[in-house]
Amino acid sequence: MCASRVETAPSFGRLKQWFRGQLRNIAPFLTLLFLVVFFGFASPSFATMDNLGNILSQVSVTGIIAAGLTFVILTAEIDLSVGSVANATGIVAAFFTLQATSVNIANIALPGWAAIVLALGSCLSLGLVNALGITRIGIPSFIMTLAMLQIGNGVCAMLVRGQIAYSVPPLILTLGSKSIGGVPWLVIVAALTLFAGHIVLAYTRFGRYVYMVGGNREAAEYSGVNIRLIIAAVMIISAMCSGVAGMLGVAYFGSAQQNEFDSYLLDAISAVVVGGTSLFGGRGGMGNTVVGLFVLGVLNNGLDQINIDSFLKILIRGLILLGALIINVYAERLRAPDSTAAA
């Protein structure tokens, strides 16, 4: 129906309309505000500078992964292999580093730079396989990256065979576990990654294409956008971010072993979605992801500070994610009448 819009809507209606449109940006922010105030009153140790530092360190590895995942979710695809690619990359970096004699892994010691290059090469190739599977063969990203999750886990298992490695290249050790002027390098890397992601999404042609492919894939195709190329690129960006997070994570944890990134898949997806980036693609961005990261970080940290059953924590996180999903879908539906009325 081609109902033409009344030009002079009452200003209250306008405000309501604006609020509806901005729901996905406002809701996560209010959630964050609420959590900060709540934990601030509930625990004396929460609202301190030290604890802020803790929260930042705690969300950094997730943050690097979530930066890459934001690209993927904006195109309305998904990457379930981020945790396993991170794990594999971290293990590759350790595998090519000289380990203490007590470590019982048949590893190959190479110079630090070579180990890093090989590690980056492995996450690049895993991302490339994802990209080709989705865009060339046409496997839905959900299934393709589910397979890649297994493959990444397989690579980890083959390399460490149930053992634990501890040493990583010196550069990785510095970036993952050292600080400069009291600020952990890890936090700086995460901040730079998220910032760079924002710049790419908001100010480059590629970033615009990412939004357009997610917003209306068919229209992007008819406008001459090479959608396969864009989707391939976001899958590779996601794998590269996961790889960097995996290497630094190994240094942050102080060990490289199987399954140590298992919880990061859920955390990264939660951060992106809780932040308000649309699961249907096209709306949201790096700013949303940053807010989402803080919501998760504050929640995890705050629940540790107050006296609460640690098993209940898991349930609470699940409920928060459910709440975010409801808002996400609801926000999508609120906007929907606009497009149907005019189409």
Partner: protein, 506 residues
């Protein structure tokens, strides 16, 4: 032609004084319509004349209307399609509602499978009843266990008819059932319809194919502009020309010049060929289509819904891969593997559905600039430039509202279409393919779109306009091809053309 209608008995279905409007636009004005038991009633009229609206009222889809409806003399008012079905009215829509991967038998009983004890589906009973059901329609040879997709489209349609019958329908509405069928399939469908008539069922048959309507109907009703023009018994005197005259209103007080007025086509035979196809085919949709689009001309392709013109447009833009024939762009034989490849060779496409070419949540300027981003910037976006270009187009095409920051979804349909065209004003492709460029627009917006397209043509662009609306083709084209069931039936070039001639060829 034999009719079993008896003059005395009340008609099976009778509507009187039906009016219906959509948002101030009157779709039906005071229509009386009746169907007798054991009658095949043909319904013809152009697009948007109210046929479908009336059928949807009968089938309980539209529930708000003025006027009364009676079945067997009793007044009824349906609140839903379910109500209508319960009262014995079934509709087979143009878009089949079947599940291709389920078996034929399951499709016959879709949603009403016979259940055995414990509520499980009684498979043996299902197969047996499906076979009996189809045999009643004269379809003995169908393997009811085979997946429906393995059947030709005509048989699938008959399976849907049998489902509607099984649901107890006494009045069956068929919307454009023959558009995708081959002549033998049509004969088969008509056999089934005649058999149903003999068993006392009534059929309402909507079609653009006048020969089909004439060959099977007992009675015929013609619609124009939301009014019933005439209902008549189909006799020898009634032929295609007789119907077309009444469909478009020749000899009536509402004579509109655009219907009968002749338009002189003139095309430039000397201009270079921008795009050319030779014996191109795509699956069952169309075959052996050879056409040329010259620089600086608008080639119109007219045909009914489902005659293959939509697929043709998509093949030229690389969205579909042709199954045969060659495509030459600028004299070079090419194979377009993707729309991005078509883009690079200078072919652009505006699909018939606005939803599939515009970004409703994004502001106007991003919708305009998407097609030229590659030229505006390599790496960094230049939003100021984008806004400037978009503002220029918004002004020159008088798009409302004038702010380029407004999300596209809040614009009216006509303005959205203008935005979609604005993309090409800057991009400047060699060949522009437009599918239904003026569908659903008001007169003012239509004129604007015609003006824009003529402007692009005068710049030397080769333009292909594909439409099911004769007015659109006549308003725009310098040369016209008529498509009929997947191939080109007639070319009009450098001659006078009018709407009735166009309709007569299709």
């Amino acid at each position: 032609m034999v009719t079993s209608t008896s003059g005395a008995a009340p008609p099976l279905l009778e509507l009187s004084g039906i009016s219906k409007s959509f948002g101030g636009v009157e779709a039906l004005r005071d229509v009386d319509f009746s169907v007798a038991a054991g009658e095949i009633h043909g319904l013809v009229g152009e697009n948007g004349t109210g046929k479908s609206t009336l059928m949807k009222i009968i089938a309980g889809v539209h529930t708000e209307y003025r006027g009364t409806m009676r079945i067997d003399g009793t007044e009824v008012r349906f609140r839903s399609a379910r109500d209508a079905l319960a009262a014995g009215i079934g509709m087979v829509h143009q878009e089949l509602s079947v599940v291709p991967d389920l078996s034929v038998a399951e499709n016959v009983f879709l949603g009403m499978q016979p259940l055995g004890r414990l509520g499980f589906i009684d498979w043996r009973g299902l197969v047996r009843s499906a076979r009996a059901q189809l045999r009643n329609l004269g379809l003995d040879e169908v393997d009811v266990r085979a997946p429906l997709r393995s059947l030709p489209i005509g048989m699938q349609q008959l399976v849907e008819v049998s489902r509607v019958l099984y649901s107890g329908a006494r009045i069956i509405i068929l919307d454009e059932p023959t558009s995708a069928l081959s002549p033998p399939e049509i004969e088969r469908l008509f056999d089934v319809l005649r058999r149903l008539r003999a068993s006392g069922k009534s059929i309402i048959f909507i079609s653009h194919f006048l020969n089909d309507v004439l060959s099977v109907s007992d009675t015929l009703t013609i619609f124009r502009n939301g009014r019933k023009i005439v209902t008549t018994k189909v006799t020898r005197e009634i032929d295609k020309g007789w119907i077309i005259k009444r469909m478009i209103g020749i000899g009536h007080e509402e004579l509109e010049e655009s219907y009968t007025g002749e338009i002189q086509l003139s095309s430039r035979q000397d201009a270079p060929v921008a795009l050319e196809t030779e014996k191109m085919s795509f699956g069952h949709a169309y075959h052996d289509v050879s056409l040329r689009i010259r620089a600086g001309e608008v080639l119109g392709v007219y045909g009914f819904m489902g005659c293959g013109q939509l697929e043709l447009a998509r093949t030229l833009f690389g969205k579909l891969q042709p199954t045969g024939g060659t495509l030459r762009i600028g004299g070079q034989a090419v194979r377009l593997r993707s729309t991005a490849a078509a883009w690079r060779t200078g072919v652009a496409f505006v699909p018939e559905s606005r939803r599939s070419m515009l970004f409703a949540h994004e502001p106007i300027y991003k919708n305009v600039s998407i097609s030229i981003l590659g030229r505006l910037s390599r790496l960094w976006l230049k939003p100021a430039r984008e806004r400037e270009i978009a503002s220029r187009h918004v002004k020159s095409l008088s798009i409302r509202p004038t702010s380029v920051e407004v999300p596209l979804g809040s614009l009216s349909g006509g303005n959205q279409q203008k935005v979609a065209l604005a993309k090409w004003l800057t991009h400047d492709p060699k060949v522009l393919i437009l599918s239904e460029p003026t569908r659903g627009m008001d007169v003012g917006a239509k004129q604007d779109v015609v003006r824009i397209i003529r402007g692009l043509r005068d710049q030397g662009m080769g333009i292909l306009v594909v439409s099911t609306e004769p007015e659109t083709v006549l308003a725009l084209a310098d040369r016209v091809l008529v498509m009929k069931k997947g191939s080109i039936a007639r070319e009009f070039a450098n001659e006078a053309i009018s709407k009735d001639r166009l309709l007569g060829e299709a």
